[in-house]
Symmetry: D3
Subunit: 132 residues, 6 copies
């Protein structure tokens, strides 16, 4: 099986996410600051991991929108706030509806249990800002 993967087309930029949502702005700025430190270190294997990561979310047999929502599901079941924030913002930038985001979080909460709820609460605060 071959997969030809393509860059997704974003409807909104990161800057627009930051303009719309203070929570998104705070998260993206801190993420960007820390990624700067990681980039300086120039660790070869880590760069390949970042690269594989990018590739997993490109357009393919599944649309990028679906993959970002899957990233959200994986992040919510594994309970990582930063990862949840990132995929919520990416899915918003690709034009996913709020209902699509909520149903994705529902799948994660059913599979992952009520231990997901504290993370889901913070995700809803971000959703509220992005979709207001």
């Amino acid at each position: 099986m071959k997969t030809s993967a393509l860059e997704p087309t974003y409807i909104f930029s990161e800057a627009e996410a930051k303009a719309k949502s203070p929570l998104a702005a705070e998260f993206l700025d801190e993420r960007s600051r820390l990624n700067g430190i990681v980039n300086e270190a120039d660790n070869k294997l880590l760069k390949r991991i970042y690269n594989v990561d990018t590739n997993a979310y490109l357009e393919g047999a599944l649309p990028a929108k679906t993959k970002e929502l899957m990233g959200l599901v994986a992040s919510a079941t594994l309970r990582c706030d930063d990862c949840i924030n990132y995929h919520v913002i990416q899915a918003w930038r690709l034009g996913c509806s709020r209902a699509e985001q909520e149903e994705s979080i529902n799948v994660a909460t059913v599979v992952g249990g009520t231990i997901v709820i504290p993370h889901l609460r913070r995700a809803y605060a971000l959703l509220q800002e992005l979709y207001s």
Copy 2:
């Protein structure tokens, strides 16, 4: 936000999955046997959990196909062979392509790491039988 959820339309029955794949047959028969024991116990709260579980995968803002693949992603990141088998079979029954299943597993493996690989190997054995 209201979600009106609907039963998905299966292209293939469980019986067809079992006829196609010995691995599916073995898994579904054992699952059915054990669910029989659980049903006999008639635990009220557990029945509600089963019910909520069913509802999470119905047609809604997201198609049932996407939700089953999300269930696969969640199951693979949490590394549960039974859950992976179940969602692979469900997604096949709903008409998902093998490429869609593989890309879903890719997202889970990238997020969840190489610790997912032993489970992915067994998932590929099931995919091979179902999509042959």
Copy 3:
């Protein structure tokens, strides 16, 4: 098996927990604020999950006190600070002794490993305030 579940009788209110412990107050206020955002979203499936969650901790074959301590054990093994805080406060409100809380955390730490310790440290800070 049928379980007739009943509302537990609290010895202390949430307000009393907040009056006794600044850590409890900070946690409960933030939880309440975020639950407000979740409630506004009015997601039907999520409401059912919240409902099932409430039911799991009602009086039954096991007393509510034991179930809250079990919630603490589950939260500590899964390493969720918010969940630990919540169950510590609930167990305190139901009249559990500090020794009972500590022994519950011990079980979680033995099963879950030293990775639980950073969370346990924060739990002890909350216990210190509630049982002072």
Copy 4:
């Protein structure tokens, strides 16, 4: 805080568990065989870990029965079949009712999510044999 811990009084022996349940017999025999291999290795630190483990479940501020059920909750949320089997058998040997075991598993399933269900199914098969 000091905890004086005491050996619990078992109502049933391991032999009685094995006589009652083929699943218990198979599990306990394999566990015993492998523990023999571990004991031969005579690893000093590991022996201390086994020792701490034993101590966590002794009579204390909480009864041993409650602690074994907490061990079951922790094992079910962390999804370890062997650990679930062990604590189900221990709780049965100490005289816990089937309803108490089921409610403990309910707490674990609510907190840990539907990913616990495959393990819960196998636990119910063991419960069925032990409480028949």
Copy 5:
């Protein structure tokens, strides 16, 4: 920081591991059979993940022996029998002593808790065969 990574020098071959240990033989044969199925699928992203995985264990600032033992620690804390088997065999093939393997498992068991013990028991059965 640049890392020049090199293939490690194995003291024993996979065939020698299989000749020495029936458990190793059974594991390696099944792993090889399933990897055959994965290879046939020829999933491009998955191949890159396999490739990154291989690179993580090459000689570098840390010797390959240490990295395989670290893989064992990671596998034991995440409780994956297949991954534990693989790294135990790899560490043996690179000449690690049994004491080094046991101390690595000790770190994993202390950090990861007694939930690791069922996996550790099976690892000791493999260690016993390989180091007899």
Copy 6:
């Protein structure tokens, strides 16, 4: 198998770590404050757990340096910021190079997946301060 375990020789003190790195200082001070609260509680079983924990990282068949890096691997795969901070500082105090720390984190990230990346970013911020 007997292991004679010895205290490792630190090249740098905790005070030197704090002088070099504001992130280390903030972490170590908060850890020390909370450990004070835990110590006051004087929980007997918990003290034994702390004791076993200390023993796992002493000099033995493997050098203490390697064990601290293994603690880092375990902490990163289980995604615990406090534990990562602690082992990064300990490994630095024992004279591990930055490259050795990065390669350890690479193993953890490959095994544990991209869900480790947010924690890795924060670890790199600490590494940057300690190795500047």
